[in-house]
Symmetry: D2
Subunit: 429 residues, 4 copies
């Protein structure tokens, strides 16, 4: 194992925090005991929670207006894996990385896999990219990829997805995430129904190539990069497509890909009902697909999503096995810091959702005691589970305060010395 | 036939307009001929277009803040039918009325049917109402109807729907529209999945009672009267429900029931694909379910909806047979004037959609000539088909300018003398 | 003093809670001491926080679709005051009531004032109502009030506001809140500029009648009851009007009256800058003017609003003296329970905002340490101040858990026996 | 004059269209005569309408996900001017170009000015750019420009704007447009009030450097590139800033920079009232700042904006003198074709707004004849003014159908041969 952050440093950091964390953890335990919650059981549950990190997330993001690079940004997938290893070392709930192709293509995937293992991480779902053109790509995706009017372009996009599956097999992945930018910018540009049929046809070819134990995650998005229509614009179209393709196809929920005011936790409930919930791309937003840090804008919404997930798990919902990933664009923060903080935020909401007194909640729901039902959720949300999360990290060898430990380590400065700065440019994902 | 508006008055009104209308119609014909459109064929197609009027639409609407009554408002369903007869007499494209129960309950439905026939209208889909309580109703819908946690309330709501089907059979209806206000105002109030299962269970009982040649229209709505969640919040949930219930169940699209920015014409295309499009409740909105007059805020959107419908019809989409209805709340206009104007607006968009050069459009779409594809739609939308619509009305015995003829008739004043004024109050639908 | 809830009952309720509350309060104090917060100072600050209750808030609300009455609803302003007294008795942070005319008109305002004093409450801002017609009102507000095209209607609306000021003087109020429903439902219905000029002209007459120590609160709203345009649709128009009228005119922020995605805390900051912040109508919403319970949908947003307010107070912002009021519609809960819970929620956010380490925050802001700035707010928001709020209530004679104590008192049942039930109806505010 | 499109080609193109255009123009004239509109007067008015083209608009745009370059894209400002010359040659209503610095910096502005004159265009407002970093720029705008916490960065941004004024003087500009990307991505990142004060302070330095006959256009935007807050997020903040700066500062309205559902035409009316309307950046959008072609999504909204503008002009609104510019991002069309089509679309809405029967409209408004007021606008909007616009272009030497003539000219192919293709990349404005 290649530990990027000195173990001694973490140990000292934790030693300093231990007394405080232990005291707060005990106090929390006493408070929860009054609510008949066994904190040790809770701790074990929360400790098993894991969320994947996207390989592209450790680079600095941007907008169509500009990208302002950070220091020591990763140059290639090996650097990205190394950064993801740092995150996992400190937070201990991000054991896998989700790669993106062709960006993360290498000549030797066994080497990449060993590199990841050495950094303490494995591979999650593979992601294809047909929303931008690559140098030397024969045909352009300017007017679509899997849904392009031209069969040749569709074939090229299908082939790329098949290659992603192939790479994924070598990396130990078990899922392919398909998000495409296809859509239109003008009324009339695309024939909605024929375009959707081409989507289904292309995806059927990809679906047929999936190994038996793989899943295909269909990701919907309301707008951007297309601004009048997108092919899979909402969970309704996503559901239709997943139903048509078959049992391995499921619907992914990205928190930022919905219309304003949408009740996302309701969509989660519906997909659980339909046995079609693939999982999540976590982030937060105020306006559109802002790709802000998870829980930074509306933490209660994130809690409500987990309230649905915990309920589904505890009631034994059929075929319920969602995959979790962070998918954020870090334009003004150190991506490692943002991803660590976000992983902990997601974990926090999971822990709070576990605290909901579901027996009481059910009784309130069934008797229409609306106010007490609402307050039952609020009681769980008000609970500050910080010491619980710290305790879990410390027991697993992570850091009581990941950002402080990370800053103390000087990792970013070291990387800035090794990895050359990129110039200013317009934005990427 | 009981003609409310004096036929002589209409004839004179039309005689005054005839020269102008004929000239403009001929000019339009020449312009369209240059685009290879046969105006006579077009006229026949447009003349067959029909849109239903809701019985509740002829009363003055309101908001939760106030209802400002109009003059001569209908007192009961017989008055409403009479007003609908006036609309049909003048615009000639609103041959049916959609009744709402229990509001429109009478003791003798044969009498009601004959009354309608006498006024030149028939009956469209019947609508149940479980979103408000009626006097002497045993159980309240305050916390839900078809999805209520209590089985007794659900049974009452089911029974009401079964009664609506029964009444509908007597009136010659062929469809039941189910829109419910069930939802929640607080996170935690309702268990989303159990609530949805109750929805399906209750509706299955209703579905099973439908005659073989009937349809069940499921209507989704994002919010209001429930403000945190609604059971059928979008077309995705509506589709899931319709799929579960069976082939007679279809999804109704009300133009005002969507999230901000939603691409409604795309939803139309998806429901056509899924063979689940029930039809429309036409209205317009700027903010929420504003229930404004069709096409008054965004006429191009209404045109784009019809663009999908005409395309589906012309390409022979399977099981495509949508039902059209106006569903508006007239708070500051004479409802008869608004309904006449709106019916003509809907008809206008249908005519414009028929004008789209679909051969050219397909070629532009297939070759990614985006600008020309967009302009092909715009050319149709820019065409002022007013004389065509006037000609159709005049040939059918309606009025060249329905609002002018209606005002000239003094109908509203006569009704104000007969029908007593209601006092100020807070709002209704 | 007429205590509606038996003091002995509250004392016993608190005695039962005392050990737990004291322990949790001490623990919280120790945790906060580590952050250099003196809990006793904090307690004194929070204990001084007060938020007004609207007289109409203790009745059950409704929508345009239905109103489902509750049990024992207040019949008139004396009943309303009594209910408000119960709220204040139990939560101890709602010492004033904001009356609404003509709904709350009585023949003897000294009697009303004494009635309020007897129930432990005083009067806050008076509210005029020109958004609905009253029986025997000479002219209708159907097409506007203060902005009506007809000078007679405007004069009537002005006169009503002058009367409100008069009543307010008798009740000890110091402010008039002017919210009107004026707007339009169709493009073209109103001439925007002339309508606005009429608004200014009418309000100038009202403004001129204000006592020297009064304020005029202008309330903007994006839509409803008007659905295409409203005269004071946003804070920009509100600001323009307040600037034109003079220093006594200020802009009120209702949390539910904004466009989707609006950053409300930014508007607060701008109004503080402009020295024009009147205060707040607190509630929460997911879609429009949902009037849901404060903090029930997005508690972090409420915290962010208070973050601006505490910052303005602590930095000595000029002419900063906002008025706080709850303004919610309770359709499915007991209004007394909702108002008590909401008052505590607002108080909670105030306390959390006081916990923000502003010295640290400023340093992070000035050095662009974005992540730590964000985390500084989050640390305060994560703090569960429940025991602090309980301690404050208990020390002031309120209840540790207001809803439990209220339910134990049987107050609602007693009122249901005295106050007759109203029938089902369509909705009110 | 350097005519890029062969005059003979245009003449032949027009000759082919002449008979049809003349016939349709005459017919339109007869129809309008019945409404008491003198088509010749109308033609003269419309012929004087002009809208500027932004220099950056002739390049292909992109998103943060990708930019798909077009053929023959302009390499520098001289190429851009040449493309703008083509647009003006064919549509004859885009006589000026709005340059953007530092993108359009050259060593000799007299040469640039002569180049523009040679291509038949002049210069409009100059635009500064502090939303992206340039190579060799000493300080970064990553965390803000005119509002940056660091005085050095602010000074750099101010200096850049002063340089823009300087360049503008050389080019004959009379206005500076200031749009900045400053804002924040996290609650807490920026102190809203201090940030706004820095905005005012920086802009005061720029304002003070403006020549006496110049204007400063302040442009607000709700979000993007900042995703939690922006400094000038709406017209309220823009107004506050313009009021503070002085009479030369005015508020620019970009159609895509508003919250969902915003009534933009109302904002126009308010800015006219406040005498602070700078002008427009025309485009269209469905979701956010989509920068789609003007009128492509909601043409009626564009008409309603012009309805306000024509009304303001005809009623002699004080200090009313708006500047018009297209500001679109052309991702999937030939930018020249999109700009020509958009210029004509804007001109079309202006012409339609001139057709509104304002005497009738005023009467309907004053008598609350809502339906007829709405229909009065609709009558104008339904009028197909295509032949009028064609006639105006032909008389001015432009093309009856600019896109057809442009395609026939082979200009793009010629440029593709001269100007080298750029590779695929992520997006720009």
């Amino acid at each position: 194992m290649t530990q990027q952050i000195n173990g001694q440093l973490i140990a000292e950091h934790n030693a300093q925090a231990a007394a405080r964390v232990n005291l707060d953890y005990e106090t929390l335990g006493e408070q929860l005991a009054r609510r008949n919650v066994d904190t040790h059981v809770l701790k074990d549950q929360v400790a098993r929670f894991a969320v994947a990190v996207p390989s592209w997330g450790v680079g600095t993001g941007g907008t169509r207006f500009a990208r302002f690079p950070g220091l020591g940004e990763p140059r290639h997938v090996f650097d990205k894996i190394q950064d993801c290893g740092v995150i996992q070392q400190l937070v201990r709930c991000t054991p896998t990385v989700s790669p993106h192709f062709p960006w993360d293509k290498v000549s030797d995937y066994q080497e990449l896999r060993q590199h990841a293992e050495a950094h303490g991480v494995g591979f999650d779902a593979v992601n294809s990219n047909t929303f931008s053109d690559q140098k030397d790509q024969p045909l352009s995706y300017k007017f679509g990829s899997l849904t392009h009017a031209d069969a040749g372009v569709r074939a090229q996009a299908v082939a790329h997805n098949l290659e992603c599956i192939d790479i994924g097999k070598q990396l130990g992945s078990k899922a392919l995430t398909v998000w495409i930018g296809d859509g239109s910018n003008f009324p009339g540009q695309s024939h909605f129904r024929r375009q959707f049929e081409r989507y289904l046809d292309s995806n059927r070819q990809i679906y047929d190539a999936l190994p038996a134990d793989w899943r295909m995650f269909l990701e919907h998005k309301m707008f951007e990069p297309a601004f009048y229509s997108t092919v899979i614009q909402d969970w309704g179209s996503s559901l239709l497509a997943a139903q048509t393709l078959g049992p391995k196809a499921r619907c992914l929920v990205d928190l930022g890909h919905h219309a304003p005011n949408t009740n996302i936790e309701m969509i989660v409930a519906r997909l659980v009902h339909a046995r079609k919930l693939a999982g999540f791309h976590f982030n937060d937003s105020k306006y559109g697909d802002d790709d802000l840090d998870s829980g930074s804008i509306n933490p209660f919404q994130l809690f409500l999503v987990f309230n649905e997930l915990v309920d589904a798990a505890q009631t034994g919902a059929a075929e319920f096995d969602p995959a979790y990933m962070l998918d954020q664009s870090h334009n003004v923060t150190d991506p490692i810091e943002s991803l660590m903080t976000s992983a902990v935020t997601v974990q926090r909401c999971y822990a709070q959702a576990l605290l909901v007194d579901r027996t009481a909640l059910t009784a309130y729901q069934d008797s229409n005691d609306v106010l007490m039902a609402a307050q039952t959720l609020k009681q769980a949300f008000h609970t500050d589970v910080t010491p619980l999360l710290q305790k879990i990290r410390m027991e697993a060898g992570g850091a009581a305060d990941p950002v402080l430990a990370y800053r103390a380590s000087g990792y970013r400065k070291q990387m800035a010395a090794i990895r050359p700065a990129s110039g200013p440019s317009s934005g990427i994902v």
